[in-house]
């Protein structure tokens, strides 16, 4: 087997007495869409936080693209090609959709110690930004709308576009469907399906329809521990998983 894009080994994170990540070991293979599921409070967001570098693990290691990145900052990891989206979108609310993606494109082009030319008129920034917006399905006429005036679903799309700007080697998606309506959720699923195979992804998601429609592999997190990992059908059939999670989800 080829070397995994992302390899997490024995990751531990405690918050006081709570063990949020309990000896987590996880891999994302090249080209794979790996879904991470689990009930609320299972430590999924904490895991994503450690992978992207916003939270420092107490022990364990994270290898990405053949190098140990455990001690690198969030920004440094993004520069290496590890891109993410947030459960609660983090965008520049005063800027337009296009400006948000344009800034991400600009950042991907290298340093920004350029003080002279007008960045908003720079086609080498705005053209790729427009292409990215099209790729995630945000209509042309919404490009010039301020983020604060965009719908929740559009913001989710926009954040994905920004995450794609650096041509990432891995996408961490923290609940891209959260808060989306049925139609929006379906559209997001299609966008992700189009990206699938080209960019490896680690998808944290509560929407089981989306997870089972997209994932090549599913890992189940309960109380910070990975209790099962395998093909979607096997996971669906796994009694321990049903016990811990799926029955509860079916309940509503």
């Amino acid at each position: 087997m080829a070397e995994p894009v992302l390899a997490i080994r024995n990751l531990v994170k405690r918050f006081g007495g709570l063990v949020a990540t309990d000896d987590l070991t996880l891999e994302v293979q090249p080209g794979e869409l790996h879904a991470l599921i689990g009930p609320n409070g299972a430590g999924k967001t904490t895991a994503i936080g450690q992978i992207c570098g916003e939270i420092t693990p107490d022990s364990g290691s994270i290898r990405f693209d053949g190098a140990d990145i455990t001690r690198l900052s969030f920004a440094a990891r993004v520069k290496r090609g590890l891109s993410r989206t947030f459960q609660i979108v983090q965008l520049l609310d005063n800027d337009t959709a296009l400006e948000n993606v344009a800034l991400a494109v600009q950042a991907a082009q290298g340093h920004s110690f350029r003080f002279w030319a007008n960045a908003r008129l720079d086609r080498s920034i705005t053209d790729p930004a427009r292409a990215l917006l099209a790729q995630v399905g945000l209509p042309e006429e919404r490009a010039r709308v301020r983020v604060s005036d965009l719908s929740h679903g559009e913001r989710k799309q926009l954040e994905l576009a920004a995450a794609l700007a650096p041509n990432p080697k891995l996408l961490l998606l923290d609940e891209p469907m959260a808060g989306l309506g049925a139609a929006e959720s379906l559209r997001m699923t299609e966008v992700l399906r189009a990206l699938k195979g080209r960019i490896p992804m680690l998808l944290v998601e509560h929407d089981m329809d989306a997870v089972f429609a997209l994932a090549d592999r599913v890992s189940v997190l309960v109380y910070g521990r990975c209790i099962a990992s395998g093909r979607p059908d096997d996971i669906r059939a796994d009694p321990a998983v049903r016990e811990a999670y799926l029955t509860e989800e079916d309940g509503h």
Binding site: S73, L91, N94, E99, L103, A108, R114, F115
Partner: protein, 323 residues
Amino acid sequence: MRERVLLAALLAAAVALPWIADALGAPATTGVATRIAIYAIAAASLNLILGYGGLVSFGHAAYFGLGGYTVGILWEHFRLGEPFLGIISGTAEFLITFPAAILVGGVAAAAIGALSLRTSGVQFIMITLAFAQMVFFLFVSLAVYGGDDGLMVRRPNALLGLNLRDPATMYWLSLGVLVAWLWLMGRIVRSRFGRVLEGVRQSERRMAAIGISTYAYKLAAFTISGMACGAAGALWANYARFVSPDMMHWTKSGELMIMVILGGIGTLLGPVLGAAALVGLEYTLSGITEHWQFILGPILIVIVLFARKGLMSAFGRWGPGNG
């Protein structure tokens, strides 16, 4: 296009101001306008980090004062004929003292910024204030350069045969520097660097998410801002022919902040309006009563409460200044 015409008209009026003032029999206006122009440079430079970068520096008078003292100290050594620290000979050449003041402002801002920018929020406000107070007390205790009493600069610097003692000449020089600085700032805030600064203000987390480590950008902006403040201080030393620790007192930092907020935070021309309003109000109100601050206070409160972009709100879509 209409904006350009309006700006050109505004500039023409500003250039013609000394003649108009003389014609109206109010020559003192030129001096007031010079003060406004100089403070506008300092306020605009504070606005670069406060308004665009969202970094609340409460010690910007330090760089203003350091710029002033650069001119003052170089003059003092020129007068005495003995070199500063035994190596740098004094001078009264504006073309040397002015860049020197910019350099001193920049170096000080780089050093203070390098330490302060490791913090954020209220800590950042307090630490920039603390550093400015350190500089203030340093100059209070420097008896060689007048200490508390300050330093007289008997003759303004020499600049290409211009007479800087003439109020109109001094005014045009200050106006020229102001216009040049605003033009430069206009380029900076629209550039890639400016976009990063804008992003820093709105969300540090988003900046990390696109792979930008913000520290170096914030430090560069802080340094540029200190340089422009140093330039303003150098002009002030030539205008007032006097420098004193008052130039870097924390209340002066507060005044600069008021100018920015009053005029329109994060707008290009806002600080100019703010400086004009504050200096103008001080000049007029202090002519009416010595308790003029009692009148000024409520006016400031009303403007800040009802106009989010300060006086620039009155200019409608000009407001944001980044259209």
